[in-house]
Amino acid sequence: MRGNGTRRPVAATLAVLGYIIMIVPILFVVATAFSAGRTLRFPPEGFSLQWFEAAVTYDPFMESLVSSLYLAIGATALALLLGVPATIAIHRGRIPGRGLLEGLFLSPLIVPELVVGLALYQQLMIGLGLDNLTTLLLGHTALLLPYAVRVTGASLALADPAVEEAARGLGASPVRAFLTVTLPLLRPGIFSAGLLGFVTSFNNVPLSLLLQDREFRTLPVTMLDYVQQSYNPRIAAMATLILAATVVIAVIAERTVGFAKIFGGINR
């Protein structure tokens, strides 16, 4: 790493600049969260934890946090449940037109989310009369499918197909070979896809904005509403808490599979 930095000063400078641009605004937010004053201002006036208390005792935030977690976990689970078998079928099966099929699963990446949202709104909510929660869950699932397919697909492409054949040759039934050999090899990929899916769903605004109603709102939408009405450090405190949780998840992910593996999978 250091070798790269000294040999390529331009790239190194850009990287540092990139980090600064990303991190400095975050630091401002974090700093204002600890303010003792009443407005979002930098530098913060004094130091207190009052805004954290204000954030965690603010019902709309807490209710929508639960909704967001519920939605993110549900959509991630559904996307993996659909996406992983689909990936395996695409990569290992002998289905005609598999390129087309893979394209279909990846298409939510390209279609603007507002269009997807509008389509779901018209078809599922108006057309079929489904409620918001179901529609949101389905919408988020569609949104996460590309990650499930792409990331697990990448780790499947890396795995030697002969490994599963070897298990068969040693006496394992197709199901047993899959469970004892292929699935363990896919575990980091599935884990990464799940993590990425969870974060994507949790942070999503456009779909949630279109499909929300009074009973069911996600945290980002609620926070968006909040800043439009009041401008105080409570929002900064909530953002800081989310940031802290994200860092914890990232550390766990790094410990268990490693970032190189997770993001290596996506770039392939």
Partner: protein
């Protein structure tokens, strides 16, 4: 000699392409059979059909006399070593070797014993707790071998097991596989495109080309009596010509001599080029053969006096090593 497995009129087509074309082959019990041939001749395809990973388009494969053509691999009880080794990366060496025993519900104590014995057989007892990634290519290859042997397979199938090893290790492993084969009495089928490997290791050598078997037999027999031009070419016979009685023959470069002081089949020739190689001299010549065709000959001579390109000389072929070929050489 009993037959461990047999191909009867086995054909494998991929779309319009025929990868294996109606082959008949008997694999002798307790012997080492090699499938030898150039890249793409259908060796792997044949081995995979025998293992059950793909099914012939037509024909029958029997194992120990039982029609096994449509049997899935897990029901065949064969051991296979893949070219890529295909070790289970998430398991230790010992767990890899124990995998097939676990499926066979062998007891824990016996499993441990058999794993230890098999790892000792391949000389890897000390690495049983390592993960495959930590091992060298040669060691991984031995793990793959041990994993296949541990289930006491009816046949052991090896697809180019040595091609990923460096030259020295490759030669060493030939003897190693031979030793394991004779110690276990296993029937082995080994795929290779290396003729030295096949000559050195096989009891039965099967030469393939374009999905067909060109010749099969003991290495000595095939090497000294190639049946056709393809086999002769593949085994390093360089000289092909029609003799005075009109028979198409071949001979190795080392059995041609120059100067005409020996008895044998003679041809008047002109030296085209020479290549000095220390112990011997490779002389390329041009001659007109018994059929009136201009042929190129290569003589591998020792203790030769200076020979210059353009010089005329007599080439004598040692009659003891002249091999008649079944076709006229028009491949």
């Amino acid at each position: 000699m009993s037959t461990a497995a047999a191909f009867v009129g086995v054909t494998q087509r991929f779309g319009d392409f025929t990868a294996v074309d109606a082959i008949d082959l008997e694999i002798p019990e307790g012997k080492l059979t090699t499938l030898l041939g150039p890249s793409g001749c259908g060796k792997t395809t044949s081995l995979r059909m025998l293992a059950g990973y793909s099914q012939p388009t037509s024909g029958t494969i029997t194992i120990h006399g039982v029609d096994s053509t449509r049997l899935p691999p897990e029901k065949r009880g064969l051991g296979m070593v893949f070219q890529s080794y295909a070790l289970f990366p998430h398991m230790t060496v010992a767990e890899n070797v124990a995998y097939g025993l676990k499926i066979r519900k062998v007891g824990k104590k016996e499993t441990n014993q058999r794993v230890a014995d098999t790892l000792d057989l391949v000389g890897l007892g000390h690495l049983s707790a390592s993960k495959p990634k930590k091992l060298s290519g040669g060691q991984q290859q031995r793990v793959a071998l041990a994993r296949a042997i541990a289930i006491q397979p009816r046949l052991l199938l090896l697809d180019e097991p040595l091609s990923n090893l460096d030259a020295r290790l490759r030669v060493q492993m030939r003897a190693e596989i031979r030793r394991i084969q004779s110690e276990t009495g296993l029937t082995v089928v080994l795929v290779t495109h290396d003729q030295d490997e096949a000559l050195e290791m096989s009891d039965l050598m099967v030469l393939m080309k374009s999905g067909r078997i060109m010749q099969s037999g003991a290495p000595r027999e095939v090497f000294s009596q190639p049946a056709n031009r393809f086999v002769a070419d593949f085994l390093g016979y360089e000289n092909f010509f029609t003799d005075k009685s009109g028979i198409f023959r071949t001979i190795r470069p080392e059995y041609l001599s120059l100067g005409g002081d020996k008895t044998g089949e003679r041809l008047e020739a002109t030296v085209v080029s020479t290549a000095y190689r220390g112990v011997d001299l490779l002389v390329t010549l041009e001659a007109v053969d018994g059929a009136g065709q201009t042929v190129r000959l290569i003589a591998d001579v020792r203790n030769a006096a200076a020979i210059e390109p353009g010089q005329k000389t007599t080439v004598t072929a040692d009659p003891a090593h002249l091999v008649p070929l079944e076709n006229s050489g028009k491949e």
